[in-house]
């Protein structure tokens, strides 16, 4: 304990009078990035946080650890290809994997609404158990809170996780170099479309299942094969576009994509066309990008394609000197456009 009281903290950019939190502040796009920059980063300023990675990298007694947390508020609780339980395990497992870590231990906090059928909770827990076993992690601590009826929508889950990072492994946007090839682990948009369909409000009848899957195995295989990987990022809210813009901005480089190389299933494309969504902004729960040195790109694709969740891996573009922070894409007809971060909220409570 220090002898003096720490100075009272004030936000460097206080909110305008009457300003309220809007859904976009949690949407994974520009508004959320701004909230983090304006409020959270200055409040908790420290070296680990300032890296703004999917998880924090910490050194503890000689061990290199990755530490990450995420809350899950998806509505509905069950959808084709997954549920809030599998999402809560895989989401945090994947955040750890994107730090180059082998996920080891998870915590789980349950915020349950009074009146939730116990059978529903049992189903979710069984799903978490199966997902944890598949990802090779143990759920070692937890917490349960029940709130009054109407104060939470059925069930919210928070998970946090710890993973071990191999010696010498450095995964970070600032390590991205001009020339790196951008590898995408598979087709885009399935999770977003599956959740939308499960809501039933759109009258969509589609066979699309969420891509929800643990990504640690292909990522660790990539690292263990000695492929020169500079950066990894899973493509959740905000989709491929927002993830790449974040990386381009942090790396101070330009990323050039070829729209024709980006795989999107026909059914997903059809739903996106109907709703006016661009698949590169739709959420995924089992997809990631890997930035790999050009000499290793082909070999990396071979490694990724040996694992189920990344069987459809492909190269979609590359990093170039260009304009810092810019992502450009060659369109299907050969025109050129900027790819920006998601602006506003595309679909609330997708995960």
């Amino acid at each position: 304990m220090s002898e003096r009281e720490p100075p009272a903290w004030t936000c460097p950019l206080p909110a305008a009078e009457g300003e309220r939190v809007q859904l976009a502040h949690g949407g994974g796009g520009r508004a959320m990035a701004r909230l983090i920059e304006r409020l959270f980063l200055p409040a908790f300023a420290n070296a680990a946080l300032e890296r703004r990675h999917d998880g924090a990298l910490l050194e503890l007694g000689g061990a290199r650890l990755a530490f990450s947390t995420d809350s899950y508020v998806v509505s509905p609780l069950f959808f084709a290809g997954g549920d809030i339980g599998s999402l809560a395990v895989n989401g945090t497992v994947n955040d750890l994997a994107m730090c180059g870590a082998r996920p080891l231990y998870l915590s789980a906090g349950f915020i349950v609404e009074e009146g939730l059928p116990l059978a529903t909770l049992e189903r979710v827990v069984a799903s978490m158990r199966a997902a944890a076993a598949a990802a090779g992690v143990e759920l070692v601590t937890g917490d349960t809170k029940v709130v009054d009826r109407g104060k939470a929508d059925g069930l919210f889950i928070n998970t946090a996780g710890i993973g071990r990072v191999a010696a010498g492994c450095e995964i970070a946007p600032r390590r991205v170099r001009a020339g790196d090839v951008v590898l995408l682990s598979g087709d885009l948009g399935r999770h977003g479309v599956a959740v939308m369909a499960a809501r039933g409000a759109l009258g969509l009848e589609t066979a699309i299942a969420s891509d929800c899957a643990p990504l640690a195995a292909p990522v660790l295989a990539l690292l263990e094969a000695g492929c020169a990987v500079s950066c990894l990022r899973d493509l959740t809210r905000g989709g491929l576009a927002s993830a790449l813009v974040e990386i381009a901005e942090a790396a101070g480089l330009e990323i050039a994509l070829d729209e024709r190389a980006i795989p999107v299933r026909e059914e997903v494309r059809a739903v996106c066309e109907l709703l006016g969504l661009d698949p590169i902004y739709v959420a995924n729960e089992g997809r990631f990008v890997a930035f790999v040195a050009p000499a290793d790109a082909e070999r990396a694709l071979g490694v990724l394609r040996a694992y189920e969740p990344s069987r459809g891996a492909c190269a979609i573009g590359s990093v170039q000197a260009g304009a810092a922070g810019r992502v450009v894409m060659k369109s299907t007809i050969g025109g050129r456009r900027i790819v920006d971060m998601l602006s506003g909220e595309q679909l609330p409570r997708i995960c």
Binding site: R30, A201, A251, L275, R326, T332
Partner: protein, 366 residues
């Protein structure tokens, strides 16, 4: 995907572009009216494939952008009323009224619901008999039939707690106002295919004759737009002025007769104010006398026109094709989708939002 992929083929696009380049001898300006077409042009880079000298001017066809500020304010006022539920297409929520937007009202507890169809709003009214449910009926001729259907069904079902806040506008009067404006430089129009799918194409014939210029009814895919531009340019180069239909796979000359009948039953043509442009005679639809009881302005008070907001925003000029978004000194700096100065930066069909999303020069280095 059938009916989409074949209209986004890079080789065919290059072929059209080469044809165009060979046929052009002078500079021409062609305006696409519809915001959906503007969006496709900027997203796919269609204008980058055009020969030098052929300029696309972006028109006023973004319904969200042209909805007058007093209607937004009225919607906000309704949404803030205790017993009311305001149903709207999602695009309208971020459009600034004179002091705030619908999202801000929603964040403060106003019951604002995003629907994908006016018939969903009707369902909300059925499920909430104790509440006043208002649907914000905006759009061009394309949304008019479904909006009319909502009023028609409400009347048939005797649904007393449902009403429409109507801000419907029409394309041909907007084209005419651009052509009649002093200093107009538009020499040909791409008419919006989906509007014509509903209304047919004959309404454009008088414009073609009176102003002696080509109008080509055009679809929304990259190859549709390229072909539409090529058809305009061919006419211009030959000194012709005809109404042509590029989008014949969808648009019939007479349009959709049942939809037109429904529009005539529920709506009547009235003057409308267009945000950034001003009042245009006979340019919109309002509920007809037979449906007056479903008019939200009767229940919640009339939206009173107010003076256009004064700012450095040039949305009005952008909407009329007189300026392009990057011509604005605030573009991408003081005006962004998160902090818009004008509606054209808000709507996904607005020209400024399209340029910001797909063309913005990177000014800040990370």
């Amino acid at each position: 995907m059938k009916f989409v992929e074949e209209y986004r083929d890079g080789r065919v696009a290059a072929h059209y572009a080469a044809l165009l380049a060979r046929s052009v001898t002078r500079p021409w300006t062609v305006m696409e009216v519809c915001g959906g077409q503007t969006h496709a042009i900027v997203r796919f880079g269609i204008d980058q494939l055009l020969p030098e000298g052929v300029t696309l001017a972006h028109g006023p066809g973004c319904p969200v952008c042209v909805t007058p500020v007093e209607m937004i304010d009225k919607a906000i006022e309704i949404a803030a009323t205790d017993r009311a539920i305001l149903c709207s297409f999602g695009d309208m929520l971020r459009v600034p009224g004179s002091s705030r937007d619908l999202l801000a009202v929603k964040a403060r507890g106003g019951d604002v619901r995003i629907v994908y169809s006016p018939l969903d709003a009707l369902q909300v009214a059925r499920e909430n008999p104790q509440r006043e449910v208002v649907f914000f009926a905006v759009g061009f001729e394309t949304t008019a039939p479904a909006n009319a259907m909502a009023a028609y069904q409400a009347k048939r079902a005797g649904l007393a707690n449902f009403s429409l806040l109507v801000s419907q506008v029409l394309v041909p009067p907007a084209i005419e106002s651009i052509l009649a404006a002093p200093g107009n430089r538009v020499q040909a129009f791409l008419a919006a295919g989906h509007v014509c799918a509903v209304m047919g194409i004959d309404a454009y014939q008088p414009l073609v004759r009176r102003y002696r210029l080509p109008i080509v009814v055009t679809g929304f895919e990259p190859l549709d737009i390229l072909q539409g531009v090529a058809m305009c340019v061919r006419q211009l180069e030959r000194g012709e002025a005809r109404l042509e239909n590029q989008y014949s796979r969808v648009v019939r000359r007479a349009g959709n007769a049942p939809a037109q009948a429904l529009i005539r039953e529920v709506f009547e043509v009235i003057p409308r104010r267009w945000r950034g442009i001003g009042e245009i005679p006979a340019s919109g639809l309002g509920l007809s006398a037979a449906y007056a009881e479903y008019d939200a302005e009767r229940r919640f008070g009339t939206a009173r026109p107010r003076a256009e907001e004064q700012s450095e925003c040039i949305a009005g000029l952008v909407l009329q094709g007189a300026r392009k978004p990057p011509d604005c000194p605030a573009f991408g700096t003081r005006c962004t989708p998160e902090h818009p100065l004008g509606v054209t930066m808000v709507s996904s069909e607005g020209a400024c939002a399209a340029y910001h999303r797909y063309r913005r020069p990177v000014t800040e280095s990370a």
